[in-house]
């Protein structure tokens, strides 16, 4: 699965929210992308440093409240152009064939027998089903925001696809084993 491009997300947050300091960007990130891994402060400042070096953001000043000085950042024209380019580019559909799920069944069939592969598929199906239930419960909760729902939809759709594959592969596994060993 492709990693989320943190630099582009930060450029987008600066474009939508104007001048902000690192802490505000981190908070906005975690709020808008609630299912992503929360950004570490170190990562925010390291990314901002690189974006500044590349001329995509500029420092706008120092905010001094109680505590240390906080540098605020603003988007440059070059940053805006980079962001627009990223938003226009279509992402390559992910091929998925390199999935660990797939590799594991293949190897299980090579080194063990059908029962071993089947047992693994059943255990994996169980884990996937459990996770699907958790995400569905989170999505159906009255407190879920649309941000949550859309993010959960994405995760649920992918888990659902994996589960369908696990079901189908369970039905195929005996034939597959025969083919692997002839």
């Amino acid at each position: 699965m492709a990693e989320v491009s943190t630099p582009h997300v930060l450029l987008g947050l600066l474009a939508s929210g104007g001048t902000r300091h690192g802490y505000e960007l981190k908070r906005a990130h975690d709020e808008r992308l609630p299912r992503a891994r929360p950004l570490a402060f170190g990562q925010v400042y390291a990314t901002l440093g690189r974006l500044q070096r590349d001329g995509l953001v500029a420092t706008a000043g120092q905010e001094r409240e109680a505590g240390p000085d906080r540098t605020t950042y603003t988007l440059t024209d070059a940053g805006r152009a980079t962001l627009d380019r990223w938003l226009t580019e279509v992402e390559p559909p992910m091929p998925y064939v390199a999935s660990t799920l797939f590799a594991k069944v293949t190897v299980a069939l090579l080194v063990a027998d059908v029962d071993r592969a089947r047992a693994w598929l059943i255990a994996q199906r169980r884990a996937h089903t459990q996770r699907l239930r958790e995400l569905t419960a989170a999505k159906a909760a009255p407190s879920a925001t649309l941000d949550d729902v859309v993010a959960l939809d994405f995760a649920i759709a992918h888990l659902d696809a994996d589960l369908r594959w696990l079901h189908t592969t369970l039905d195929r596994v005996a034939d597959w084993h025969r083919e692997v060993h002839t």
């Binding site: 059943i122 255990a123 199906r125 169980r126 089903t129 459990q130 699907l132 239930r133 958790e134 995400l135 569905t136 419960a137 989170a138 159906a140 009255p142 649920i156 659902d160 589960l163 369908r164 079901h167 039905d171």
Partner: protein, 233 residues
């Protein structure tokens, strides 16, 4: 507490076996998904549990009373008072308006006309289709019809709702809205739900999943209790 039980239920259509000895408990207030590939016996099991079909062998009990030996009239009465049934295509009565359709189970159970209409309007409102009260099914979208059918299935506040692929004919978003509301309202009023589906994503709304394969319960490890939804009463 278990309220509905199947014990060794067998059912065949001519020479073709559909159920080959199913044992299943439905507890009060729990939501069970019955899943499995096409032809595995899901719908037949639902029909046997709901007293629509009589098993060839085995027992179906409701609060300890065998209902599979009851007359059609007695089972029909049970369905009217304690059960709600919902199919893939709402099967609304074409000649009746939405409100009349939803009020129908109450009228059949002896509720007065005015009271039945008031309840029908409340349930249409809960499914977001109050404005369709005086519209006939022919003038509604599939999603609107299924919302009305779901309201009709729940209007008697049944103890068990049997839902056979209730979102199968709907697009993903509409199906999800109908199902979310169905599950929420069923939980609120403590209605058990037996949800037949072949889709993992739909089954994930249930507290647990029973997988059928060739007319038997598949014992291979999917009888999961949900970590979050599993407030089994």
């Amino acid at each position: 507490m278990t309220q509905l039980q199947a014990r060794g239920v067998v059912k065949a259509y001519g020479p073709t076996p559909a159920l080959r000895g199913i044992t299943l408990d439905v507890d009060a207030g729990e939501i069970i998904a019955v899943t499995g590939p096409s032809g595995c016996g899901k719908s037949t099991l639902l029909h046997c549990l709901a007293g629509i079909l009589r098993p060839d062998a085995g027992e179906v009990t409701w609060h300890g009373h065998r209902i599979d030996t009851w007359s059609e009239a007695a089972r029909s009465r049970l369905r009217r008072t304690e059960f709600g049934v919902l199919f893939q295509f709402g099967q609304l009565v074409a000649e009746l308006t939405a409100a009349e359709n939803v009020a129908l189970p109450l009228l059949l159970a002896g509720t007065g006309r005015r009271e039945a209409r008031t309840a029908a309007l409340t349930w249409l409102e809960r499914f977001g289709v109050a404005e369709l009260a005086d519209v006939r099914p022919g003038e509604m979208s599939g999603g609107q019809q299924q919302r009305c059918a779901t309201a009709r299935a729940l209007v008697t506040e049944p103890r068990v709702l049997f839902a056979d692929e209730p979102t199968g004919a709907l697009d993903t978003l509409t199906g999800e809205q109908v199902l979310t509301q169905l599950v929420r309202l069923a939980r609120e009023q403590g209605t058990s739900v037996v949800l037949v589906t072949h889709e993992p994503r739909i089954a994930a709304y249930a507290d647990r999943e029973v997988v059928l394969r060739d007319g038997l319960v598949d014992q291979s490890g999917l009888g999961l209790d949900s970590p979050l939804l599993g407030e089994r009463r």
